[in-house]
Amino acid sequence: MGSQAERYKSGVLPYAQMGYWDADYEPKQTDIIALFRITPQDGVDPIEAAAAVAGESSTATWTVVWTDRLTACDNYRAKAYRVDPVPGAPGQYFSYIAYDLDLFEEGSIANLTASIIGNVFGFKPLKALRLEDMRIPVAYLKTFQGPPTGIVVERERLDKFGRPLLGATTKPKLGLSSKNYGRVVYEALKGGLDFVKDDENINSQPFMHWRDRFLYCMEAVNKAAAATGEVKGHYLNVTAATMEDMYERADFAKELGSCIVMIDLVIGYTAIQSMAKWARRNDMVLHLHRAGHGTYTRQKTHGVSFRVIAKWMRMAGVDHIHAGTIVGKLEGDPNVIKGIYSICRDSFTKKNPEQGVFFDQDWAGLRKVMPVASGGIHAGQMHQLITYLGEDVILQFGGGTIGHPQGIQAGATANRVALEVMIKARNEGRDIWNEGPQILAAAARWCSPLRAALDTWKDVTFNYQSTDTADFVPTATPA
């Protein structure tokens, strides 16, 4: 590039020449780094495509503007600095782009995402674009509140340690009257679950007004706590049309003594951050159901990967997030899910391309998010669930509790016994991955609800090909 005058001559310049590509750029500690998977249109050079993504997600427009020269514009230009072909995917490229911290407002997911996933996703020279991962600098993380409660404090409040928590979603998800709905909650909690949950689309419909639901559910929660001597909870979904409505519902939940409220991802990033602040102010655990995410996280070539959503939600501040089951009915490649769980639970997440994690991420003391595994899981998979997902997780058996042939309490008991017996065996040093079925069968000899659960669901599996998989395969290491 020649003189400044030449650079700012009116007209159109390739993005790479406008300063959005710099192969020698060394990202600063304070830069935000985004990794995009780009699929350029035929004939578009990948480096120019990467520069265009950097440009369109920061300062550029389609033509040269002289007003750039009123600013420290080089500072504000995002810089694509590395483009690698995606292994085994011709026509796709991983492109690394660094953004200066000054491009972003402190503590605002809305502002961060307006740049990173703003206009650029509709940009014509690209066939498809996917945000695969981000490195958030400590300096920026420190401007976020993060989870109002976090795994450690949640466990201390609930007085539940050493095992995954157990939950269930009330079924049928729509149509029950409040009184019948509360019955399901009571039975499941008394039988041994820690939590029951509203489903994502239970708000305030003609068959069940929200206040009625809250009142009956709290009767169920307290009655079950008295019957067992344990802290119990029900995620009261406060998702509503406006912030005012959500605050009203959340305040009522608090007034009734609930320890937890719930929101859906579809309420939007700003509403989530508002509820996170409300939850911190009111000593409330905040559960997030990821309703809607599959529309943009599932396909590998276009959208936003769920690991990025999980990062944003840890920053925005939720205590629970649905993050995949691996073995259940919903999308979940084992490696990708492990990567997402690391993002929720680590103090420092290490780069691990085999799990889709492209950057080291220091979480700067931000509290940890409890991942939730929900959807098509049952007691017979307990050894697999614990092996894959570990201990700091909520296992939610909705159908696997309520559909039990001996009733809801029996369904809950089956799940709790299966869980405790498997944790005990693991701690005793047994190989639960291989011995799991025998361990369950042995417990089923003295626990008839568990026996009935195993008989009912023994052959239920959901073996389908995953869509969202990691691009780097583990290389076999010689023994």
Binding site: V152, E156, F161, R163, M218, K223, T228, S347, K424
Partner: protein
């Protein structure tokens, strides 16, 4: 009723060798074992009495079981639990907590309902046992 606090309350009461195995697991993780007892099993009674400080330098599970046994001898009709404390950054909390002793008779809890404005009810959970003063609750 049977209070189901703790990691293994849905299982048959653990034998001494099963307790030792769990303690050994905790020690292998680098956690410190503490023994606590109470006659107030309210689910939000967070501070059970300490049977001495957590045993930070203990390496041998048998030693911890000796403390469990001594605590049982002193308080046979109390709830006793074994806790494992993890000092690792990012945790710094209890990682395992299970009941190893219970009173013969567990009367459970009363749910008290106070009707307030509208259809609202305020709930209080009270242990039947704690109507008697401390130390005379499970005689």
């Amino acid at each position: 009723m049977r209070i189901t606090q703790g990691t293994f309350s849905f299982l048959p009461d653990l034998t001494n060798s099963e307790i030792t195995a769990q303690i050994q697991y905790a020690l292998d993780q680098g956690w410190a074992i503490g023994v606590e007892f109470t006659d107030d099993p309210h689910p939000r009674n967070f501070y059970w009495d300490l049977w001495g400080n957590p045993m930070f330098d203990l390496k041998d599970a048998a030693g911890a079981l000796t403390e469990v046994t001594a605590c049982r001898r002193a308080h046979p009709q109390y709830y006793i639990r074994v806790n494992a404390f993890d000092a690792t950054r990012g945790f710094e909390t209890t990682r395992l907590s299970f009941i190893v002793n219970r009173p013969t008779n567990e009367p459970g809890f009363q749910l008290k309902r106070t009707e307030v404005g509208g259809r609202q009810i305020q709930y209080t959970i009270e242990s039947y046992a704690t109507e008697a003063p401390e130390g005379r609750r499970y005689e």
